[in-house]
Symmetry: C2
Subunit: 244 residues, 2 copies
C-alpha cells in the first residue's frame, strides 16, 4: 500500500497537479484523480486529444492553446510555454476502498462520469489547459447530442458536471488533493446542443484548507455568457485518496 501511495505521489508530481481527489469522509463531497492515468494499463487512452468528431471551432481553439504549451526562444530553442494541456482518462484510481456499500462488481465496472459514453462526439468532448503563472485554466467543451435537457439544449446537470470537473481539477492543481464543498451556479443563457463553449476558471483566494475558484462558461468567441459559478474546495490528505 505504501508503494502505491509513493507511486501515486510520483505520478501526481510528474503531472504537476493532482487532478481531483475524493474519498469517503463523512463531510464535504470528495474529489477524485479523474485525469490520472490508470496505472495498471500501459497505454491508457487520453480523451483530451483531437478526434474526428471535433468541430472546426473546437479544433481551432485546441490548436490555439496547444501551440502555447511549447514556445521558441530568440535563439530558436524550444521551451515550455505558459500553458499546459491536461490529459483525461476514463477511470479514477482503484486503490480506494470506495465506500462500505460498494461491491467488487460495481467497483470493477466503474467509469468516470464524463467518459461513460464511448462514441466520440456523442457526449462530453473536452480538453483542459492550465496557465500556472496566471493561476487560471481554460476548458474547451463540445456538448454532444446525448446531453439534452431543454429541447435542443444542454442539460443544466451536464453544465454543472463540467463546472465541477474544471474547477475541481484547477483547485487540485493549485492546492493538491481537495474535496468539493460547494458549487453555486447561475444559469444565464442556454447552450445549444452540438456547440462549442469555453469554461474559464480563476482562483479567487486561498484561506487555510479552503480554495475558492470562480468559473465562467461563454460562447467560443467569449461574446456570450452562458453560465457563471463559484466553487469552494477543501484540502484533504493523500490518505483520504485511498479511502483509508
Amino acid at each position: 500500500m505504501l508503494r502505491s501511495i509513493v507511486r501515486i505521489s510520483r505520478v501526481c508530481q510528474s503531472l504537476g497537479s493532482l487532478p481531483y481527489v475524493q474519498t469517503q469522509l463523512g463531510h464535504p463531497a470528495v474529489r477524485t484523480m479523474s485525469t490520472l492515468p490508470w496505472p495498471f494499463n500501459s497505454a491508457p487512452r487520453d480523451f483530451s486529444l483531437p478526434n474526428s468528431s471535433w468541430s472546426s471551432e473546437m479544433t481551432r481553439l485546441y490548436e490555439h492553446y496547444n501551440s502555447q504549451c511549447e514556445v521558441e526562444t530568440e535563439d530558436g530553442e524550444k521551451q515550455r510555454g505558459p500553458w499546459r494541456r491536461l490529459p483525461s482518462y476514463n477511470r479514477s484510481l482503484k486503490y480506494a476502498k470506495g465506500g462500505v456499500y460498494l461491491s467488487k462488481f460495481v467497483q470493477s465496472k466503474a467509469r468516470l462520469f464524463t467518459r461513460n459514453i464511448k462514441t466520440a462526439g456523442a457526449a462530453f468532448e473536452y480538453v483542459m489547459f492550465i496557465n500556472k503563472e496566471e493561476q487560471r485554466s481554460v476548458c474547451i467543451f463540445q456538448a454532444g447530442h446525448l446531453l439534452e435537457g431543454p429541447p435542443g439544449h444542454v442539460h443544466g446537470g451536464a453544465i454543472a458536471t463540467m463546472i465541477d470537473s474544471v474547477t475541481g481539477t484547477h483547485a487540485t492543481y493549485l492546492s493538491g488533493p481537495v474535496m468539493t464543498a460547494n458549487l453555486n451556479i447561475n444559469y444565464r443563457s442556454p447552450i445549444p446542443l452540438g456547440s462549442t463553449v469555453l469554461l474559464e476558471s480563476c482562483m479567487d483566494k486561498k484561506e487555510g484548507r479552503k480554495t475558492f475558484i470562480s468559473c465562467k462558461v461563454t460562447s467560443a468567441d467569449s461574446s456570450k455568457l452562458h453560465t457563471e459559478a463559484t466553487a469552494l474546495f477543501l484540502s484533504v490528505s493523500v490518505s483520504h485518496l485511498l479511502g483509508m
Copy 2:
C-alpha cells in the same frame, strides 16, 4: 403549430404537471418537459418503472410510495392517494427549434441526459413521486457504476444533475413552465456507487415569477445527509417551450 401547442397543453394537463420546460431565451438556463411522453411514439418506455437492476432497497422504497398513490376508503372504494408517481422518458419535446447552431442531425439523435445510457442499472435509475397537498416531492435514486467521480463514489456533477432534475420537475409541477436560474449545492458526504439514496424537495416560497425549492439528498433510511441544495426557477410562457 397551434395544434401542437394545444396538444402539448392537453398532455400537460392530463399529467397534472409540466415536467420541466426550457428554451433559448438569452437569460437563465431553460428547462424542458423531460418527463413528457414523446407524442409521435404510441408506446414510449417509462423508465420510472421497476426493472431487474433495481436493488431490494430501491424496490422497497418504490413500493412504499407507490402504494400511497391509490388508497382504499372505509367503504372499500379505491381513490387517489396523497402521492403521484411521475413517468420519465428518454426524450424531451422536438417542437422547439433548439438553438440557432443546432443541426438536424444533432436534433434527431438528441436524448435526455439522465437517460443517455440504455443498459439498466448502469447510470441513473430513479423514480419521482409528488405530494400535491404537502407541496413536496421525493425521488428514489440508485447510482450506477458509470457515474463515478471519486474512486468508488458518485461524481458531484451526477449529483447536481439529479438535484436539477428533481427540483426542476417539482417547480414545474407547482408553477408551470420554468427555467433554472440558480443552483446552490453543499456537498456534505460522498455517495458510494451502487447505493440507493433519497432526494426530498420542498417549496420554500413563490414570489412573482420566482419559485424557490430546497432539496436534501440522504441515505435511503434518511439517517445520513449527503448533499443539500437550494434552487431558483423563473416562470416562462408556453411559447418559450417551442423556441418561438
